[in-house]
Symmetry: none
């Protein structure tokens, strides 16, 4: 078989319901990618014979390897086998071995076999049967001209077992795999990053390049097809070119998060950290403490959601709150200073602002925020007006505060 | 327009990578379902012009309403506009109004507009522009023969705003709709809920029933097809049967969260709240303050990530920390008491424990947690050993602490 391009089809009307999230697709993308097979399309389709046939017909026109999950159960809603057999013009025949194994399975569970379970023993002629150790529906492997169709049960455990035991070993050894890398960037908007990296993107060659923005963070996702154990030379080259342009805006790679990077720096220096939060309501501390071992450097935080708390626990001056206001650079500075003093830490970060939907009058729309940082012989603040929802503003503020800290600890400035 | 059948297309190569999950599809299924429009297909496709054109060509053959998200950004990877224009044989023309609004947007943020952002002002001739209040890429509405194509940005906030403001009002009235309801349950495991509700599920009739579990929360998702303004009688009946069995374990319906429910109770009573967190590291406060207007009842929190902070800011006694340990019922009680005193609030919640991967020796494995609650003439603590990852333990602890508070405020006991 040839498998330069794969396609994933998830079958099941319930998968089109609002609350469903498919996890089979991500698993298959990873396992196929590690064997050098890219997934070009993912489709979700309901349990309707004509829709199913249509989806498989389209897939046969554009993909070499088609993996479908679901619709192999015993009920009349389960139509994947029938649809594929009709489309390929193959008769469905009873596979005695499957029938016996289903009967055996029910016997072991001391249950009578419902007659409709015999449906699961019907296979399109010529299909190879892929045993299911965890359930009744086996997988099926069908060649059709230049393409291969693999039908699997939708239950994630059963699907994975069949993929590991029977599908991956049947895939051709391409001697190739996809190498992946994620480059994480702080302190720049998506359009900034895009503009500055345009020459690198144009020169990326065989390295696939995707730019992805989350609040307060931009990611470049790189993918390269490499031979066996080869290092991904193209990715390494692109990575170097990105760092040459963006410098310290690049804060991490792959799974590593901003809070892990900050934690690593603090541990290396033997520094400690605290936080004073109003706007972010504990989100900065929550991020910092999501890292195992954060207690080595993080002492704590005060979430100050009223002026009294800012005064009493953080020592923000009454005059500052009255004249500059709770949402001001001066309040952010005094909050950071107060946390640093109260917790006795090397560093302290602070955040105050209007997350929305309410703002603070015409001069202070929702999204108006001030961040503070206090450290050894230094203090700095930053004022920003951030677009987006309450949640976006809070997330972006927390990430930006951690990035201010990272830059200060790293000594690269704002 | 006719819209008996919709199709959703998610555009973005990164969505085919192992690490991504689409959330836009679920939202769209729900909002369209509420108008009686069923989604027949969901497709994920990469940023490749030919693949995109192919997917839209197939969609035009089988669906009346095609909604696509993503690929409308300013970069050369963003090809949705181009692919659709080519497929429909329409020229792309510069929309001056969009160009001006993008420039205006950058001006407000005091940023120079990168030249490539003008790409976002190019629209296929005849397309209606759907304003984007939260970002630069507007939505586009295109009629093509019997089908309608709607192009939306992939950023969830922006996509939702455009759907609510501009897409839903343009959809035809079908006279039928899917009614949905989510019943949210706290304090029980998924198998508990499944076992206790088995008779209700068997008797659900035409109401589609799905059970879904998240850390510290179980949800029952119900769906029923009804005419126009008809109330969903089947859902109401099932809802009543669930509450009759589970009582106060049912804490909310639909979009409402635990923190919103708690906030509503506190506002109604004129009560105030504070928190003392070690284990959850700010996660309880972060949840509480995610609710707009939380400053009406929430005063603040102390995140106490060291023994000194527990002593100095919360007044936990040295002897308690030395004899009972920082992870103990007594420490949880003193933390809650200390926060209630320090913040002068009606209620205070606390959490201490080992989130993992490290524990506190053989008697205190990772997942050992203690929660505290202090209120008017009452104090209570709860000890639990929770399975799961660091993140799961922290999430479940925060949710359980809020549920303890809810039950106390409601007067229904633990």
């Amino acid at each position: 078989m040839n498998a330069s391009r794969a396609e994933f089809i998830a079958v099941g009307s319930e998968l089109l319901d609002p609350w469903h999230a498919d996890t089979n697709g991500a698993y298959l993308s990873r396992r196929l990618g590690e064997r050098g097979i890219g997934v070009g399309f993912r489709t979700v389709v309901g349990d309707t014979r004509e829709d199913l046939k249509g989806v498989f017909r389209v897939a046969l026109e554009r993909s070499d390897l088609i993996i479908a999950t679901g619709g192999l159960g015993p009920t009349i809603d389960d139509l994947t086998r029938e649809a594929v057999a009709e489309l390929l013009d193959l008769p469905l025949i009873l596979d005695e071995r499957i029938a016996r194994s289903i009967e055996e399975r029910f016997r072991r569970l001391a249950l009578p076999m419902p007659p409709q379970n015999r449906r699961q023993a019907m296979v399109p002629r010529g299909a190879e049967v892929l045993p299911n150790r965890l359930g009744t529906a086996p997988g099926l492997w069908l060649g059709s001209g230049r393409a291969t169709i693999v039908l699997l049960p939708g239950v994630p455990d059963e699907m994975r077992q069949i993929v590991e035991d029977s599908v991956l070993p049947r895939l051709p050894a391409t001697g190739e795999r996809f190498a992946y890398r994620v480059i994480k960037i702080a302190g720049l908007t998506e359009s900034d990053v895009d503009r500055r990296l345009d020459p690198v993107a144009r020169d990326a060659g065989a390295v696939a390049w995707t730019i992805l923005a989350a609040p307060g963070q931009v990611e470049i996702h790189l993918r390269e097809r490499v031979r066996g154990a080869e290092t991904p030379a193209g990715i390494d080259r692109v990575d170097g070119a990105i760092v040459a342009i963006l410098g310290a805006h690049v804060f991490a790679r792959d799974q590593e998060t901003m809070e892990e990077v900050v934690g690593r720096f603090l541990v290396n220096r033997g520094d400690s950290l605290s936080a004073a939060e109003s706007l972010t309501g504990g989100g900065i501390a929550e991020r910092i403490t999501s890292v195992p071992g954060a207690s080595r450097y993080f002492r704590g935080a005060v979430v100050a959601y009223s002026d009294d708390v800012k005064k009493d626990l953080l020592g923000v001056r009454k005059e500052t709150l009255e004249i500059q206001g709770a949402v001001s650079a001066e309040t952010a500075a005094e909050m950071a200073r107060g946390a640093r003093r109260a917790f006795g830490t090397t560093w302290a970060v602070s955040a105050t602002g209007y997350a929305g939907p309410e703002g603070g009058g015409p001069d202070r729309p929702p999204g108006t925020i001030f961040l503070g940082l206090a450290g050894p012989e230094m203090e700095t603040t930053r004022g920003l007006t951030l677009p987006g929802s309450r949640q976006t503003v809070r997330t972006r503020a927390a990430r930006t505060a951690l990035d201010m800290l990272r830059r200060a600890v790293l000594g690269v400035g704002g």
